[in-house]
């Protein structure tokens, strides 16, 4: 029985023009699916193409080849519907410093087309869930980074999207905050969301992801559950699996 794929990517490609290097193929033919109630991991080094892929899914970038659809909507032809079904979290996405936490959540709820009369209630629910009631009405610029992170996660899910993308979410976080983040992601998975999670931290991927794609130089080298990877490469730890796959490609290059 096949579950409907929340995310479907086929032969996705992206090339850039770079001043010094000329034409660069950042993503070079990627295929994968992601389902509801699943955490799908993209694992790769910096510059491997993870962020570019995720940005294409979020319709921030336009693919130069191939197709991708999210929650049934095509990223090229129906970008707004895609974004309405999506919650995007990245370490580089910041909050507006002069708005309060509550205002931030309200703002993002509204522009993501959350039904207007339900916004206030939804914001309250989230404030409670993340325990930020104490400082929900203080300006974001005055908050500590831990508090900001909570608000960031809240605003990612404020419009209750079925699909979530987390792009290296634990970069720069301390141990406690990183654990908190992982906890939240697990919760969301259990609620039935389809989650893509990219990282270059092996331990995180091992713990969180149901399936993992190893991505290198714009291509997926291997895709599967942790067990499938172990059997394919004969290695146990994800780190070794990763090295094995990358070396295989590099060696033959």
């Amino acid at each position: 029985m096949t579950e409907s794929a929340s995310i479907r990517v086929q032969a996705l490609q992206k090339s850039f023009w770079d001043e010094s290097r000329g034409e660069v193929q950042a993503v070079d033919g990627i295929d994968f699916d992601c389902h509801e109630g699943e955490v799908f991991g993209l694992l790769g080094a910096n510059g491997a193409g993870k962020t570019t892929t995720l940005r294409m899914l979020a319709t921030i970038l336009k693919p130069t080849g191939g197709r991708a659809s999210l929650n049934g909507y095509d990223v090229l032809t129906e970008p707004e519907s895609v974004r309405r079904s999506l919650g995007f979290y990245s370490a580089t996405t910041a909050l507006y410093p002069r708005l309060t936490g509550r205002e931030t959540l309200e703002f993002f709820a509204r522009i993501n087309r959350y039904p207007g009369d339900q916004v206030a209630q939804r914001v309250e629910t989230l404030i409670e869930r993340f325990g930020i009631a104490e400082y929900a009405d203080a300006r974001v610029e005055k908050l500590s980074s831990g508090m900001k992170q909570k608000i960031s996660i809240a605003r990612t899910i404020v419009h209750d999207p079925p699909v979530l993308i987390f792009d290296e979410p634990t970069v720069g976080l301390d141990v406690m905050a990183a654990l908190e983040m992982q906890h939240v992601i697990r919760e969301l998975r259990d609620e039935g969301k389809c989650i893509i999670f990219s990282t270059h931290i092996m331990s995180e991927a091992e713990k969180l992801c149901d399936r993992i794609a190893i991505i290198h130089q714009g291509r997926i080298l291997a895709l599967g559950t942790l067990e499938e990877h172990r059997q394919a490469t004969g290695q146990h730890y994800l780190e070794d699996i990763f090295l094995h796959e990358v070396m295989a490609v590099e060696g033959s290059a």
């Binding site: 770079d18 001043e19 979020a58 693919p63 974004r83 002069r98 993002f108």
Partner: protein, 710 residues
């Protein structure tokens, strides 16, 4: 995807609302950008006016010291005394009397130069004047020059032998100048009184001043004159306010958000790109208008408080129609300003970059808006087609109650068109490629390579243009025609081309398009050159009559430089036909076209190369005729892939212009019959058709991208 759903409007409203909310919370910015000017400017104006007033007082209260010299000094003193009498007895009490005092010095010249005295009054008999003038001419010490004090230029005929009163002043000194002007005008007054008495005593029944006297009456009401005055400055003033006011919002709109990382967050929401851009644009418009209104109210307060004064009898009356019209005219201007600021915000990667690039943008808007201030600028001319400038002139005309509906519409459309185009461009500001571009802004290291050339070619030509302009303005006279041609064509064009080829490692043959052509093309050139020349003349006539009227002096100067130097024909041909034919083509249809081949489509290339070619000929009235040639040449190069045909064509075109004029076969009086124009057009089309039929297109042009993604 219907855009009319109420959900969209609500999203737009939310976006806009939060933009404003965030701005209003930036108290420091508001303090500095809005409040501080309101407080500081009156202070600054006050100081400036105090200084100005004290200057005026000084000018009036000084006692001007003068010396009387010359062989008719006694007579001179009489005249001066009489003039000072007039000054003292002036019934007009509103002007303060200027006081003069005679001094005695041993060396008047030295005393004047060293500012010991303000004025030297030389009373000379005709003979001594001649002597002195001859001596001065020999020593070539004439300085600022002599002027008849009553404003009439020196007549050409032999003036009668008259005694001369020469007021020598130091132009560098305001006081000296003032002394000379005041005394001079009184002496002129005295002289006309003396003349009148001569006429009267010798039989004139009427004073000469009363013969065929002219009175003038102004039919303009005070309101109209007030409107004229206000209309001069209204557009630049409002523009200034909107630019600085709108920037308060614009600087954060995209570049600020980019810098802080909130832009990416925004882009991942369900809001449509166009909604985001519209909301920001609206924000800029609203803030710009708000700041403008605040400042205008402030100005009114200054007026009431007397910090700023209006001229006497200043009155302005604007009908409801006027106000509506003004509002309509300012609409496209507002949109254009806001779009430009948003584009700037999109282009700048950081707040700092925005600030740095703001100044040229500011000037680019302000300078055209000053067009309304130029005396003689009439809306019924090509200026209506120039964005911003057209509005400036249109506003001035409305303020004096002139409604030329056609041209008002033209001005509105040209600026409106520019605004619409700019607004469309603003969507591109959210192009996210630049968001994550890995390469940093360091372009000082030109890694080089032919791939980089298309991006830089326009800059190089910009530099060449500036150099050409400076050389021609600064050294033009000294160089003469031959020198200018040498410098422009050999050093700037050819030298520049070689530099570009070397720097970017271009292949010379490809860059210069040195390729062979089908023999028929030569036939086409033979037909096309004279035909194109005739069409060019027709075009120049049209432009001269309807678009850019040329002052007579400029036309004459141009004709002089072409034929005046008395160059033999072979030199004329060499410098003005052969060298341009080769070197200009190599530069424009060679290197420039090569650089732009991937940037624009074929039509775009022709237009750009043509336009740039026209701009390089600097003079306004040559711009369109040369641009037309440039377009034709570019088209031929694109069709044949080779530069040789256009070299010949260019040479032939110039030669056709030079030889008959030099030989005297045609003069300025020659009129070209209309059927010649028709023939010319026909010939041109035939030539182009011929070339089309055997075309070998320019290789390696811009290809359309397979699917439209942008």
């Amino acid at each position: 995807m219907s855009r009319k759903r109420s959900g969209d409007r609500r999203v737009l409203a939310t976006l806009f609302q939060y933009e404003i909310k965030r701005l209003l919370r930036d108290t420091r910015m508001i303090l500095i950008a809005v409040v501080a000017p309101l407080v500081l400017f009156p202070f600054i104006i006050f100081v400036m006016r105090s200084v100005e007033r004290s200057e005026q007082r000084r000018l009036v209260e000084t006692v001007y010291e003068y010396v009387v010299v010359g062989d008719e000094a006694e007579w001179g003193r009489e005249i001066v005394a009489g003039a000072l009498q007039l000054e003292a007895n002036d019934p007009d009490t509103s002007r303060a009397r200027v006081r003069f005092e005679e001094q005695q010095v041993s060396d008047p010249e030295a005393a004047l130069s060293s500012a010991q005295i303000h004025l030297v009054v030389e009373a000379l008999s005709p003979e001594s004047y001649e002597t002195i003038r001859a001596a001065e001419a020999a020593a070539d010490t004439t300085g600022g020059g002599e002027d008849e004090a009553d404003g009439t230029a020196g007549e050409e005929e032999d003036p009668p032998e008259l005694p001369t009163l020469r007021l020598r002043y130091r132009g560098q000194s305001d006081f000296s100048r003032n002394a000379s002007t005041r005394l001079g005008s009184r002496i002129v007054e005295l002289r006309s009184q003396l003349r009148d008495s001569v006429y009267a005593s010798r039989g004139f029944l009427v004073a000469p001043g009363l013969i065929a006297s002219v009175e003038t009456e102004n039919t303009a009401s005070a309101e109209k004159e007030g409107g004229a005055l206000l209309g001069l400055a209204l557009t630049p003033f409002l523009l200034l306010l909107m630019l600085t006011g709108g920037s308060i919002m614009a600087v954060d709109a995209i570049s600020g958000e980019k810098e802080r990382g909130t832009l990416e967050t925004l882009l991942t929401t369900a809001a449509a790109r166009s909604d985001i851009v519209t909301a920001k644009l609206l924000g800029i418009v609203v803030v710009g208008i708000a700041v403008a209104v605040v400042n205008i109210l402030n100005l009114l307060v200054y007026l009431v408080l007397g910090v700023v004064e209006l001229p006497e009898n200043f009155a302005v009356a604007l009908s409801a129609l006027d106000l509506v019209l003004l509002l309509i005219l300012f609409l496209p201007l507002t949109l254009l300003i806001s779009s430009a600021l948003l584009l700037l915000s999109g282009y700048a990667k950081t707040y700092k970059e925005y600030q740095i690039y703001f100044f040229p943008v500011f000037l680019a808007f302000l300078v055209p808006s000053l067009a309304g201030m130029l005396p003689g600028m009439d809306l019924r001319s090509a200026i209506a087609l120039v964005p911003i400038a057209g509005i400036g002139v249109a506003v001035r005309e409305i303020m004096v109650g002139e409604y030329d509906w056609l041209f008002l519409l033209l001005a509105f459309s040209s600026t409106g068109g520019a605004a619409w185009w700019a607004a469309r461009l603003t969507e591109r500001t959210l192009s996210t490629e630049r968001l994550i571009s890995q390469s940093d802004l360091d372009e000082a290291d030109l890694v080089g390579g032919p791939a980089l050339f298309p991006r830089h070619v326009l800059r190089w030509f910009g530099v060449m243009w500036v150099v050409l302009l400076i050389v021609s303005l600064w050294f033009g006279e000294d160089l003469g025609v031959r020198g200018q041609v040498l410098v422009n064509l050999v050093f700037i064009f050819f030298g520049g081309s070689l530099l570009m080829i070397r720097h970017y490692g271009l292949e010379a043959r490809a860059a210069f398009a040195l390729r062979p052509v089908h023999p028929l093309v030569w036939l086409a050139v033979v037909i096309g050159a004279p035909a194109g020349y005739i069409v060019g003349i027709g075009l120049a006539e049209l432009v001269n009559t309807y678009v850019f009227p040329v002052p007579q002096s400029v036309l004459e100067a141009f004709g002089d430089t072409l034929l005046g130097d008395q160059m033999p024909l072979w030199q004329l041909l060499l410098f003005l036909a052969i060298m341009p034919g080769i070197l200009e083509e190599l530069a424009f249809r060679g290197v420039l076209l090569h650089g732009l081949r991937k940037v624009f489509g074929p039509v775009g290339i022709c237009l750009m190369v043509g336009a740039i070619f026209g701009i390089f000929h600097v003079s306004l009235f040559r711009l369109l005729p040369t641009a037309y040639l440039g377009v034709v040449f570019a088209a031929v190069v694109l069709l044949t892939g080779s530069i040789f045909p256009v070299m010949l064509w260019h040479f032939a075109n110039n030669a056709i212009g030079l030889v008959p004029a030099h030989m005297g076969w045609v003069t300025e009086e020659t009129v070209v019959p209309w059927w010649a124009y028709a023939l010319g057009l026909l010939g041109l089309l035939v030539a182009l058709a011929l070339i089309w039929s055997v075309r070998t297109p320019y290789p390696d042009l811009k290809k359309k991208r397979p699917e439209t993604f942008e």
